[in-house]
């Protein structure tokens, strides 16, 4: 079997998604037998972008011109481009304050430094390039990353998930925090696949995996309202990971 030529890049993000892959310590030796990491600046040096890639995994959102240049170059030379993590897929926490004055935000953090000049409102990858598959999560589950590698080794893309966190949660026979505790649990609106990691520990879902397809936002908002939460609080919670939520 021909080795898989892989590029892994990080844009505006915390590097946690790439770290999740590197944390697969048990599996890394086996991966190295099958995968050529040609461009993986976080883990391998030197990181030189050259040749064609079977697949590129990109963590993080776009907020700087050089990131856009890198992304376009990777897209051009990759058969598959995969958004890894909620930032890459939806903008994520970096996009939390999109809509506010960018320059004011920049100055409040960086003062007069020019290090971040040219930065723009953080965008998910699909705002700029075609994305072949999305792996959501903050960070994604280890299992999802390993399954992604397994698929890519065989020339396949992962099957998209279409179930919400509630489904994972119910399957584990957890207490429903939304109905039984009236908690602001975003499970019904959030993409599943995490095995309801937080609700299983009685922590309400924070929505870190972004929206589930065809999420019924209006009805959910109605329900949260009945439970005493106002729209602004719910939308604020939702937009923590995905600025695209609109009421």
């Amino acid at each position: 079997m021909k080795p898989l030529r892989l590029a892994i890049a990080g844009l505006t993000a915390c590097s946690g998604c790439q770290l999740s892959l590197l944390n697969c310590e048990q599996e890394l030796p086996q991966m190295l037998e099958r995968i050529e990491f040609h461009f993986f600046p976080m883990a391998c040096s030197p990181a030189i972008l050259e040749g064609e890639y079977d697949a590129t995994l990109v963590e993080g959102c776009l907020s700087m011109p050089h990131e856009l240049d890198l992304l376009l170059a990777l897209r051009q030379h990759s058969r598959y481009l995969i958004a890894v993590g909620t930032c890459a897929a939806w903008g994520g926490v970096a996009a939390l304050r999109n809509g506010e004055n960018r320059e004011e935000l920049r100055q409040s953090v960086y003062g007069s430094s020019t290090a971040t000049s040219g930065s723009f409102s953080p965008q998910p990858l699909h705002a700029m390039v075609a994305v072949d598959a999305f792996i959501c999560g903050c960070p994604p589950e280890k299992e999802e990353l390993l399954n992604l590698i397994g698929d890519l080794l065989r020339g396949a893309l992962p099957s998209p998930i279409s179930h919400p966190v509630c489904s994972d949660c119910q399957m584990r026979e957890n207490l429903c925090l939304l109905t039984e505790r009236s908690a602001l649990c975003l499970g019904p609106l959030t993409l599943g696949g995490c095995g309801a990691r937080c609700p299983s520990l009685e922590v309400p879902c924070e929505g870190c995996r972004g929206p589930v397809p065809e999420a019924n936002l209006s009805e959910a908002l109605e329900l949260y309202l009945q439970k005493g939460y106002d729209h602004a609080a719910v939308l604020g919670r939702l937009r923590r990971f995905c600025p695209e939520w609109k009421s």
Binding site: G150, D151, L153, R154, G155, A156, L157, S159
Partner: protein, 280 residues
């Protein structure tokens, strides 16, 4: 016997038919050891496993009695069929089947047969066509209408043009547009299938129609056939659904109260009339 367990098969030949569609021949081993996967009726389907990727329902495309060898015509569009495009001869796959009801060949005895295929729908109808031609004397007049987007998308074109030279079958091809060529192949017109249908003369009381095409075309074809007098029972359609298990359990392929994997995939229109969403 575990109906979910595929038997091993080997890809023996790979013949690209169009940009995105390939004809595979699989060797399924001895008929005594393959759970009968190579003994099928035209219109039935099997579940093809690509190890490491998953399983996908595919219609049989070849001649039914070719022992141990089966032909599958596959468009590379899905989770399994896209990576299948990387396969080479000699690769191992898994197969299980046959599943479902095929075309009711016995009821076709002495009948005129009108086969209408759209796009990839030619795959299962080729199986039917080969079966019909193999016992040509059993049936009345044979007509095939086959339409595709463009000439490059017509499957089995050479084979069909050869057939068109025979005097015991009428073959009419159609494309939605000519694309890059100035004129299409012989027997080919720029037209949509329902338009071809309107120009046909058939004997409604002794004709059966076998249809396979994309869902979008079915309502037009069915109303066209009804307009030229064909009763619902004489219109047989092969439906596409997400047949995951093949044995009536997984619940993904319901058509009204029918399950496409067991009650279909070939239905007569009398069964489907009145079922919302059955056709498209």
């Amino acid at each position: 016997m575990n109906a979910s367990l595929p038997v091993p098969a080997t890809i023996t030949t790979i013949r690209p038919l169009t940009d995105d569609t390939t004809l595979y021949t699989l060797d399924c081993g001895l008929n005594t050891q393959n759970n009968g996967v190579a003994s099928f009726l035209p219109g039935q389907f099997l579940e093809l496993s690509l190890p490491g990727i998953g399983e996908v329902p595919i219609s049989y495309c070849g001649f039914p009695s070719a022992g141990g060898a089966i032909e599958l015509c596959i468009r590379h569009v899905g989770h399994v069929t896209t990576p299948l495009n990387r396969s080479v001869a000699g690769d191992a796959v898994g197969v299980r089947g046959p599943f479902g009801h095929g075309f009711p060949l016995d009821s076709y005895e002495n009948q005129d047969l009108l086969l209408i295929a759209g796009g990839l729908g030619m795959a299962p109808l080729r199986s039917l066509l080969l079966a019909l031609l193999n016992q040509r004397q059993r049936w009345g007049e044979l007509t095939l209408l086959y339409g595709a987007r463009e000439q490059g998308a017509l499957l089995f074109l050479e084979e069909l043009l050869q057939l068109a030279k025979r005097n015991d079958i009428q073959v009419q091809l159609a494309v939605d547009r000519l694309e890059h060529c100035l004129e299409g192949p012989p027997n080919c017109r720029v037209a949509l299938l329902p338009a071809l249908l309107e120009q046909l003369t058939i004997r409604p009381d002794r004709t059966c129609a076998a249809l396979c095409g994309p869902p979008v075309v079915y309502p037009y074809l069915v109303s066209g056939l009804k307009r030229i007098g064909l009763p619902d029972e004489r219109i047989h359609l092969s439906l596409e659904r997400r047949m995951k298990c093949g044995v009536g359990r997984c619940g993904h392929c319901a058509v009204g109260t029918f399950l496409c994997c067991c009650d279909g995939p070939v239905f007569n229109y009398a069964q489907l009339a009145g079922i919302e969403g059955a056709l498209a």
